[in-house]
């Protein structure tokens, strides 16, 4: 791939250039809002600020892909976000909820993120950026990154059209992964040269740590255990609303069959003698995990969204990773790789048949 070396201070100029040179019509970028970090949609380059301190902040607010979901417009939107967010955007392209021609996906290296709450409370200690050494140090103080980040093997940017990789100190590398990405960088008049951003050893190290963390999580080994796990669920469906790859216009659980009320609910009570209220926690989560089983990018937005603090990471990404392994499918990795559902093979998964 081709790329150029930059410093953190160049980031603002890079983003402004994308708008000024007409590479994109608008940008979804992280920005600082006080101690917190969130996104904004920018059309005027002058409004871009605090890019350097926001882009690599170890903080997770919403999944950026969720913000642009369903934007099937002709105007080109650039999205600057963490790898898991970019991966979700790629899945949305496959699901036609984003148009590949109208997006420019820019992934930034991630070292893991804290919930917004932890990050704002401890901003003084955490700062604008945190490398792995710092994250370990903070862990010693009882500040831990989100569980979904701890089990994530894909923290280094290697998806989307453009990646921004962090190096030692103030160094950065920006590189094009796709033709579209490279073209954008050329338009920005960066002097491009061949770059090797494979970073295999580093990736392996991250993967090993993530795997160890995953193995240490308590398992949901039975249906009873799962029922207990979900018993506090109030079926508010926040986890669905914050999920970047839950993409229905009208969710089944908003339809009468999925959300029985009044007479429908009473009918069930008559039939069974009694029904728990709110009803259908298990049905809701099992259906949802099935629906996102191949596309879930493990971003953890569901857990962040849960008002009852159910550690949903131990359910969603843990299960979906297993499904994805079976199909040897990596969501968000390659926009041209078909969804497992659509790639029927006459003879496959024979080992699962017996």
């Amino acid at each position: 791939m081709k790329g150029a070396e930059l410093k953190h201070g160049d980031l603002e100029g890079l983003l402004k250039g994308l708008l000024d040179k007409g590479v994109v019509d608008c940008l979804v970028v992280p920005h600082r809002a006080g101690k917190s970090v969130s996104y904004m949609l920018v059309t005027d380059a002058d409004k871009i600020e605090s890019a350097a301190s926001a882009l690599f902040a170890p903080s997770f607010s919403v999944n950026a892909a969720n913000l642009v979901k369903g934007w099937t417009i002709k105007e080109k939107v650039g999205v600057v976000a963490k790898p898991c967010e970019i991966r979700a955007a790629v899945e949305l392209i496959k699901l036609k909820q984003l148009d590949n021609e109208s997006v420019l996906l820019i992934a930034t290296d991630c070292s893991g993120a804290y919930t917004n709450q932890v990050y704002t409370e401890h901003y003084a200690e955490i700062g604008d950026q945190a490398d792995s050494a710092k994250i370990k140090e903070l862990e010693g103080k009882g500040l831990t990154i989100r569980e979904s980040c701890a089990i994530c093997e894909n923290r280094l940017a290697d998806v989307g059209d453009i990646i921004i990789a962090t190096g030692a100190g103030d160094d950065l590398v920006v590189a094009g992964l796709t033709e579209k990405g490279e073209e954008a960088l050329t338009t920005l008049e960066l002097s491009l040269e061949d770059k090797d951003l494979e970073r295999a050893a580093e990736k392996e190290e991250i993967a090993a740590e993530a795997k160890a963390k995953l193995a240490s999580l308590p398992e949901l080994s039975s249906l009873d255990a799962l029922e207990e796990f979900l018993q506090d669920c109030i079926v508010c469906k926040n986890c669905r609303d914050m999920c970047p790859v839950c993409y229905c216009k009208e969710c089944f659980f908003e339809q009468p069959l999925g959300d029985p009320a009044g007479g429908d609910l009473l009918n069930l009570a008559v039939l069974r003698g009694a029904v728990g209220l709110p009803t259908g926690q298990l049905f809701y989560h099992l259906t949802r995990v099935y629906h996102v089983s191949t596309t879930c990018v493990g971003c953890g937005a569901c857990e962040d969204a849960c008002p009852k603090d159910i550690p949903l990471t131990r359910f969603y990404p843990v299960i979906t990773q297993k499904v994805q392994e079976i199909f040897k499918y990596e969501p968000g990795k390659d926009v041209d790789e078909p969804l497992p559902f659509t790639a029927y093979e006459e003879e496959e998964l024979e080992e699962c048949l017996r």
């Binding site: 369903g70 934007w71 099937t72 417009i73 002709k74 105007e75 699901l95 036609k96 909820q97 148009d99 993409y247 229905c248 216009k249 009208e250 969710c251 089944f252 339809q255 069959l257 999925g258 069930l268 039939l271 069974r272 629906h291 078909p338 969804l339 559902f341 659509t342 029927y344």
Partner: protein, 895 residues
Amino acid sequence: MGIAVIGGGAAGITAALDLANSGYKVYLVEKNAELGGKMAELAECKVGLSPKIVEIENHPNIELMLSSELESLSGSAGNFTLKVSGTKVEAESVILAPGYDVFDNIAKSYGFGSPDVVTSLDFEGMLRASTASGELLRPSDNKPVKKIGFIKCVGSRCQENEICSTACCAYTAKEVWVLKERFPKMDVSVFYMDIRVFGKDEELVAELKDKYGVKYIRSRVPEVIPERGSLKVKYEDLKKGAIANLDFDLIVLAVGLLPSKTLGRLSEITGVKTDEYGYVETSITSPLETNVPGVFACGTATAPMKVRESVAQASGAALKAAILAQRTEPIPGQEERKYIEVGDEQKIGVFICGCEGEVSDSVDIPAVVEQVKQLRDVVLVNGDTNTTKEVLEAIESGIVDQGLNKIVFAGYTPREYETIFRDSVAKAGLNPYLLEFVNLREQCAWVHDKAEATVVAGDMLRMAVGRARYLEAIQIEQYPVIPKALVIGGGVSGMNAALGIADAGYDVYIVEKESELGGGLRETGELQSGEKASDILKDLADKVAKNKQITVYKNAKEENVSGRAGSFKANIVGDGVNEELEFGACVIATGAKEVAPEGYSGNDVITQAEFGKMLGGTVSANTIAMIQDVGVGVDAKYSSIELVANALKAKEKNHNVNIFVLYKDIKTYGKWEVLYKEAREKGVIFLRYETAPKYEGGIVSAFDVILNDDVQIKPDLVVLSTPTVPAEDNERLSKMFKVPLKKGFFMEAQERPKMVLTPVDTVNEGVFICGSAVYPAMIDECMAMSTAAASRACVLLAKNFMETPAVSSVVDELICVGCGVCVDVCPVEAIELTEELVPVVTFGVATVVSAMKKVAKVGDGCIGCGSCASYCPSSAMSLKHFRDRQLYAQLDYAL
């Protein structure tokens, strides 16, 4: 009058149904008390055949004459009089389908007589018993079998029966496959002389060897010695060049096929000639016609063959017989129907049938009736019927006399009976989809003990009644059938299919991509039977030219195919042509292509086809090397036969010529085996290799695995058998006609794996396939198959109208989010995504952008498989009759 079909096995059943379903009166004569013939004895096949038997038993156009035999035949084509067990039957034509008998004079040397040496047919029974018990036990001591040996060619390719029985290689492979699937640890060896399988069976044998670890040992077994609780098989170990022994727990003898014992008498009665082997005499170009005009033969009456070929012949014979007869009967399902309006009030009637004891022996029906009576909206429960007939009458009377508007039937399996029951409900005036079917026999009575079965039956009925409440009447639309056919490909198969359809009275279009008709046969000199290929082609082409119902388009191809069975449309484009044609059925007969194998070059290297033509003139070579089974492509079924026939002709021309044949397997199946024997007797040398022979510097060299030595031949002429590849156009046609390909050849619609009862039908109803487009075959098979394809097309064209499929998918456009996954999962490309630009409305902000709105639309081709509905996460896509609320209602009662 009508048509008499003699024999109620797989072939007779097929012929009878094709005829009856196109409006002919059929007399089906079977000597046994039950239909099914030999096929019903096979472990896996009974299940496949039984829906057809049920259809026959309930068919208004078929007079079933069981335990009956043909006693006399008089008159002539168009006006026969038959006496069948004392009853006089008048028929315009007769089809002989008496089937086969198995070889029973098994030599003592096979250890036959020991209880642990069984025939393949007995073994089928053991396999069936093992399904229920989960164990395969040795007959002598009831100990589990661990090691089985299969011995092929018992009672075939021998002195008593010199021809090859054709079917044994494939049926043995099937038995071994079933065995290994059920008992993966079973140690299996198969002793064989040649493996004579083609196409899918070839793949199966390869899989057995590679994946299942079955040992295929090439050796004719001289002796099986029963000793001390085991069976010692003596065989020749080719690698060591010595006699070796292997011990087994059980030996299965793949016994050969013989003509049916009744065929001799049938021949006397009808005057139909039989050949020297006792089979009905037919010719290679007219494989279905006997010497008696108006009497046709099919299946194993004409030669030993597999079910697939047998039922193809049966369909073909049906058309030949139909052409001589008058259509006198209405076609079932072609009458106008009006359904009663169903109001808001649910009136559910539940009918629980004892199924002649099969249900009532396990389920306490009166107890279930009492439970069901308590259910809401159930106004009638009937548990008093015991047969199909009784329950159908009860249901009809329930609808007509008591005004039931939902029916739940519990008893037989829907697999066999659904059509009959829906039809019956419809006749009584209720929309057929207001019937809910409960398979109480297979899913309850057969699998639970008595105490449990009654509880389960109660649950199943509660679920069914729950679902029945939500059943909706489904609007079924009729559309007229266009009584015309399109035939793609103007070779032998295409021309013959077209003539068959035209003779039945329908217009036919032939589309040929070349500038003349004839296809692959134009490259052939003489046929194996000695006739000139050019004479056959001329005869067919003349008939096509003279037939006013046939229009031929040369240098043309079809584009933009649309529509469905009964009403297709396509554009025919080519030299000066661009026409839109409408047709009800289509026959694909694109043939195959021979490709000379690479790696053998020189002026003295020719193909078998070229050698065949050379045999028409002079052959100067003194030493000829024939090489078979080299090159890339599939092995045509005629390949070995062409080779031995040519070798014999060369020997006839010059008995001093030296002929060496280098081969892997000589597949001279059926009666062609005698040519192979004759060739060996006349001094043709057969050398078997495993690694492809080389031809360098004028020397053919190979390693002969029987001699266990290198051989070198210095020939004057090298003749190569050519493998075949599919026609180039198949890929394009496959997409256009939605018929899948396997290795480039068209796939038949299989009823279930490994068993083919519909060899010319495809998954796309109304599109038929035949000849070498399916698999490169001999001309007799191409003729039979193309007549079969014509026959199947005519069954469709005989109808006045077709109905749109009732169970199809529908989209709720308000919910659809346009992800398009349904488009990708649809196996028949019936769904498309429509896109339109919609303005974006913001809070009073000027509209600067537009968005795309995407919605899925289900088109005409939907086959109601439900793939889209099962994916759609929003439930925007649903399948009629299987709506979420219907299934959930059922689930509610299951939980």
